[in-house]
């Protein structure tokens, strides 16, 4: 280890600060358990630190660290296989999800779209929780974390087409919920079809 190790460590600590929530969120979505997610998050960053010299600065750290999380999760599942747990991530990648075309975005006749989103945007986080977790995760990785479809496919171990379909369907479901909400509070005149 070199003397500039301390500098690298500080840089890495900054990356930990900025990405712990994301890694933890994904880990919990996979494990469904806070304790396991905590453990996976720790292991992931320790592995990431050990492999940090291989990280290429022009690539996306989020995608890189989430791939380490995915591998750590898979290793863990393999090790636990004797406990006959379902190997969910592997199963997911094997079964081909239908990549059915998602209905195209609808035109909604808001009184005023800008004001609607300003007033009720905070409902989005709550409503997103209502859609299936796989779709939430795909939408989060794409829209919030800014990962590309191929990067997400890599992290989730899924075909790009499945990822695309999950993002599109996820947003369509969210939009539907948002419209229902807007209708309930009388903010949409009527839906054009």
């Amino acid at each position: 280890m070199k003397d500039n190790c301390e500098h690298t460590l500080l840089l890495f600590e900054d990356l930990i600060n900025r990405h712990t929530d994301l890694v933890f969120h994904v880990a919990r979505s996979w494990t469904g358990d806070v304790g396991q997610a905590e453990e996976l998050t720790q292991l992931t960053f320790i592995k990431a630190w050990k492999a940090f010299h291989q990280f290429q600065t022009n690539t996306n750290f989020k995608a890189w660290v989430l791939k380490i999380l995915r591998n750590t999760f898979i290793d863990r599942k393999r090790a636990q296989k004797k406990d006959r747990e379902i190997f969910s991530l592997e199963n997911l990648s094997r079964e081909q999800e239908p990549e059915a075309e998602v209905p195209p975005p609808q035109s909604i006749d808001f009184e005023n779209r800008e004001i609607f989103y300003d007033l009720f945007g905070d409902e989005i986080a709550r409503l997103l929780k209502k859609i299936p977790e796989d779709f939430q995760l795909a939408v989060l990785l794409c829209d919030v974390e800014g990962l590309t479809y191929p990067e997400i496919a890599d992290v989730l171990h899924l075909p790009v087409g499945t990822v695309r379909s999950r993002i599109h369907r996820g947003r369509a479901m969210l939009s539907e919920l948002l419209q229902d909400h807007a209708k309930n509070i009388g903010y949409i005149r009527e839906k054009k079809t």
Partner: protein, 264 residues
């Protein structure tokens, strides 16, 4: 491109996932079609609002610090392990020259020394704790004080056991088992506290490090904790022993019990 084609690709367009040629074809259409532009605006608003309002769920407080500290500790361990490995290597190389020790010998030697990861042994501890929960009195030997257990241990294990004296009146020792866990001789003490069973595992402090666990501050001994399947393990090193207390997550105040036992 016609309207249906454009609309079917609007989400990909918003996500910048189209090839440059498709992007410019889309743009050309959108520039002159207000109905498709309307749909695009809808999707764009939705995407931007998601970005603005949705965040990853926050990780448990302190997790970031725990990770940073682990990495710093690991750095130290790695450095000292490297030194130790060099020493082992040098001495074995000597032995090899002298006695013709084979490389295979070295390999199996380093395999024997393999340590179990904290998640492995905390899981083992929790499994054992849970296994005995269903047994009315799992103790092989009844004992009501740490001193008694230490006396019994003299004929049971190949080390002279030293146990913590918990300061709390609520901790009632009921007995001890001597068993093996992860290939180690251990003493497993059963306590009762407010009607709930606790297990204290005591073993020689060898080959287990606290990486992957949450370190506990402000104690005169090295102490770490970890949650596992609804139970919590608090482990600490003292007098050459490694003690691990296992209890239900609902009894989280027990960490204070360990603190109080050692704080001066």
């Amino acid at each position: 491109m016609n309207c249906p084609e454009v609309i079917s690709l609007i989400r990909d367009y918003v996500d910048h996932e189209l090839a440059p040629q498709e992007m410019s074809q889309m743009k050309a259409h959108l520039d002159k079609c207000s109905s498709c532009t309307e749909r695009l605006e809808e999707e764009r608003y939705l995407k931007l609002s998601i970005r603005k309002w949705v965040k990853s769920d926050p990780a448990p407080a302190g997790l970031t610090n725990v990770i940073a500290r682990q990495i710093r500790t690991q750095k130290k361990i790695q450095t000292s392990w490297l030194k130790r490995r060099t020493l082992i290597f040098v001495s074995l190389a000597g032995a090899f020259l002298l006695g013709g020790l084979s490389v295979w010998g070295w390999l199996s030697f380093s395999k024997d020394q393999a340590v179990s990861t904290p998640s492995e042994w905390t899981r083992e501890l929790v499994n054992d704790h849970v296994r005995y929960l269903s047994v009315v009195n799992p103790a092989q030997h009844l004992a009501s004080s740490a001193k008694e257990v230490e006396k019994i241990s003299l004929s049971k294990v190949d080390f002279s056991l030293r146990l913590p004296e918990f300061t709390s009146e609520e901790m009632k020792l009921s007995g001890v088992r001597f068993c093996r866990l992860l290939d180690r001789r251990i003493a497993l003490l059963f306590y009762e506290r407010n009607g709930k069973r606790l297990s204290l595992f005591a073993m020689k402090d060898e080959g287990i490090d606290f990486s992957g666990m949450n370190l506990v501050d402000r104690l005169p001994c090295s102490c770490a904790t970890k949650a596992c399947s609804g139970y919590r393990v608090v482990a600490w090193r003292k007098n050459g022993f490694l003690y691990s207390l296992v209890f239900s997550e609902q009894q989280n105040d027990l960490l204070d019990l360990v603190r109080n036992t050692y704080q001066y």
